[in-house]
Amino acid sequence: MNARRAAGPTALVIALLVYPFVDRAVGLQTVHAVSDGMIYVLLALGLNIVVGYAGLLDLGYAAFFAIGAYAMGLLNSPVLGSPLYGHPWSFWLCIWLAAGVSALLGVAIGAPTLRVRGDYLAIITLGFGEIIPVAIRNLGDITIDIGGWRLVERLNLTGGENGVNPVGRPYLPGVPFETDPIPWYFLLLVIGGLSLWAMNRLRDSRLGRAWMAIREDETAADCTGVNPISTKLLAFALGASFSGFAGSVYAAKLQAITPGAFEFQVSIMLLCMVVLGGAGSLKGVILGGMLITIFDRIVLSQSTTLVRALGRTVGVPLLATIDLTLWRWFFFGLGLVLVMLLRPQGLAGRRRTALVVTDADDAPIAEAPAAPPRVDAIPAWLRERAVREGGGPILEVRGLSRRFEGIVALNEVDLVVPRGAVIGLIGPNGAGKTTFFNVVTGLIRPDGGSITFEGASIVGLRPNAIVARGIARTFQSIRLFPHMTVLENVLVGEHCRLAATVPGAVLRPPSVRAEEARARERARALLDFVGLGGKSDDVARNLPYGDQRRLEIARALATEPRLLLLDEPTAGMNPRETETLTDLIGLLRRELHLSVLLIEHDMEVVMRISDRITVLDYGTRIAEGVPAEIQRHPRVIEAYLGTGYEQELAGREAPR
């Protein structure tokens, strides 16, 4: 079995190793084109981190390619006049410098775009992609004049329109980089192989999961403890560093670089490679990159020759003079349209992104309802984390206010959650309950008032920092990471309790391996506990609705909270599912001493498990007390419960 599974990759490696020699023996002369293709594949792989993993549409990625190429060109060119150019540095050093410079610029460019997404982000990157070639063109002749004192006179920094020529080649004793394309092929094979290896490891790491979570739902990721700012910056930086490698090899291989090689079309072509192959899939991006380059460099020119020969023999002048390479953008466009129509997930895209089921409630047919939660199934690690001591309230909110465009959403609201208590938060629709949650979890800043969690103010903290402090939440309309698996969803919850860094994720030292194994073990235990044990590899969006609700709670528990905010957890559940969930909440409080703040419209649930209840109406607290008081509170009945509820309550109690 194993031998057969290994046969494919082994054959591929052998094919890659012998290919250039076969090519030479047969006289195909395609090694040059294939090597160039590998440079573009490397670029596309870097872009895939930004677009495919983190979901940030970058239309100006060629800028990083340019930066990598120019970093190499400027540091490693033996001729240009300025002092910097006089001492060409070694290729082997420059390639790392180029990657580093690209990564730094990736952060610099990423920073202003962090607050925007989608269309706006794409437009900013588009602008950046235009700026870089223009800047390169105009930095060939710099004169700086300050008050008659010439600070810089006619400095040629980039070679202007003419570019940098020549660029130094790598030197290895006995390897003919000057005359033979085969060493370039192997150099790129090594760089490509290492990059692929690193990317593969990154994808299956704490960081890779954070990227995907950001792509799926940034707000939910933030509220699950993933810092969107550093996560996105890291995507930009790592994506850029791969293009730094690609750019520097490109410059050295071509021996000359001009600004024209990094225009907008290049960004688009790279994006085509990613989309054609399948964003997010490494195999797909390699396939897309290779197909497009081979088509561009080999197929188009070969078929031009063929068609011309045909045209001459049949005597059609139009065919005899045609140049198909001028039609390349036409063919790329056509190919992209066809792929989008026939296979929108890309040639090798994972099928799980292509399922047509869009809504939770209809996805698959629900089977037997979940078993009630069991005390002995509570994961041991959660028990260890339980905090019982601490006398004062775990959460104390005083005078909390928030207005939206003149509408008072919260008006001087006070609310206290004692440690280990379940507090119900009820009120008419639009009373400000969810706004209250959003303010406590840091999604919305309050206009006034204080929020104290375990004795320290949390006002002004970012949502992910509040999660790290120990507050987790669920959402009224379920917000899972729909295309990630059940297990991955819970693992994102553990993100803020894990420590693996980029080098750790790539090199996987024993400490990281152990951490990752422990994280998975915990996630599985949690899934068993909430009754999703058998579904850890299912894609979240395909779960039945009730399971999605439970998964959201499991993900919140994975952040190791001491206070859990549940926003209508039983909405859309049938009575049996509701009962199971109510039992689960009770169990968490009893066994783990978890404090719970609960928004819920199902009065049976609220009245059964709440220690105290706060009632909001028009953003103002109109009542606070134990359930029995709230049920009979005239203002609550008037604004919220309704007389029907009162009658039903009376009817239910009468027979006793």
Binding site: N429, G430, G644
Partner: protein
């Protein structure tokens, strides 16, 4: 007797997943019919199949003698079917008023539209208060009201309601079901999909119980409220 709406042996799939497995159901003119069932049983899929947003692979859907399966959704809406979708499918960046006006998109009669707007505001005073606010800034419950209001603006012959009580406070759940009855008395036939089986069966004339994509029980609402299956599974009684 053929009803206003007839579904006969309808099979609907999402990719390879079977959502409806031979569903048969009929709604007579003037009725409130409720479809109750667990999450994932196929309730929303049934509504989608009627409106043509997903296609039945087998079986027929007829409305007032017109075959609906195969028609485009906008044509189906023009025949007089409107839906208030589950959850928050309103236009979030448009105002409450614009959302409601869009509901009347297929109607030419200006006076009638103005009258119906007034009727919606009478049914939901909260929407009148927020008439200029963007739909996306409404609370969950208010969005639910807006979705129902928008559906009413089309003055449909048949109104499809998908979980109208979801996420609403107890007092609003009562109000919504009272409004459902009012709408029905004013001449609109209603197919009501609900998780809250107790309330749904109280207002409906007849009901269907759907399990894993098929109807397993149908009867008058009063009989269903007494049936063991409904009481145990959907009313949570022991």
């Amino acid at each position: 007797m053929t009803g206003m709406l007839e579904l006969a042996d309808v099979h609907t799939y999402y990719g390879n997943i079977r959502a409806l497995r031979g569903l048969t159901l009929s709604v007579q003119r003037g009725e409130i019919v409720t479809l109750i069932g667990a999450n994932g049983a196929g309730k929303t899929t049934t509504l989608r199949t009627i409106l043509g947003t997903v296609r039945a692979r087998r079986g027929t859907v007829t409305f007032d003698g017109h075959r609906l399966d195969g028609l485009a959704t906008d044509r189906i809406v023009r025949l007089g079917i409107a839906q208030s979708p589950e959850g928050r499918r309103i236009f979030p960046r448009m105002s409450v008023l614009e959302n409601l006006e869009l509901g009347a998109f297929v109607r030419p009669d200006r006076d009638g539209i103005a009258r119906d707007l007034e009727r919606v505001f009478t049914l939901f005073p909260r929407l009148r208060e927020r008439v200029a606010q963007k739909g996306g800034t409404l609370s969950g419950g208010e969005q639910q009201m807006l979705a129902i209001g928008r559906a009413l603006m089309a003055r449909p012959g048949l109104l499809l309601l998908d979980e109208p009580s979801m996420g609403l406070s107890p007092i609003l759940v009562e109000t919504i079901f009272r409004i459902v009855q009012d709408i029905n008395r004013q001449g609109t036939t209603i197919l009501l999909v609900e998780q809250n089986a107790r309330m749904a069966l109280r207002v409906a004339h007849r009901g269907y119980v759907i399990q894993t994509g098929r109807i397993v029980l149908h009867d008058s609402a009063a009989e269903l409220l007494r049936s063991d299956l409904v009481r145990k599974t959907y009313l949570g009684e022991k």
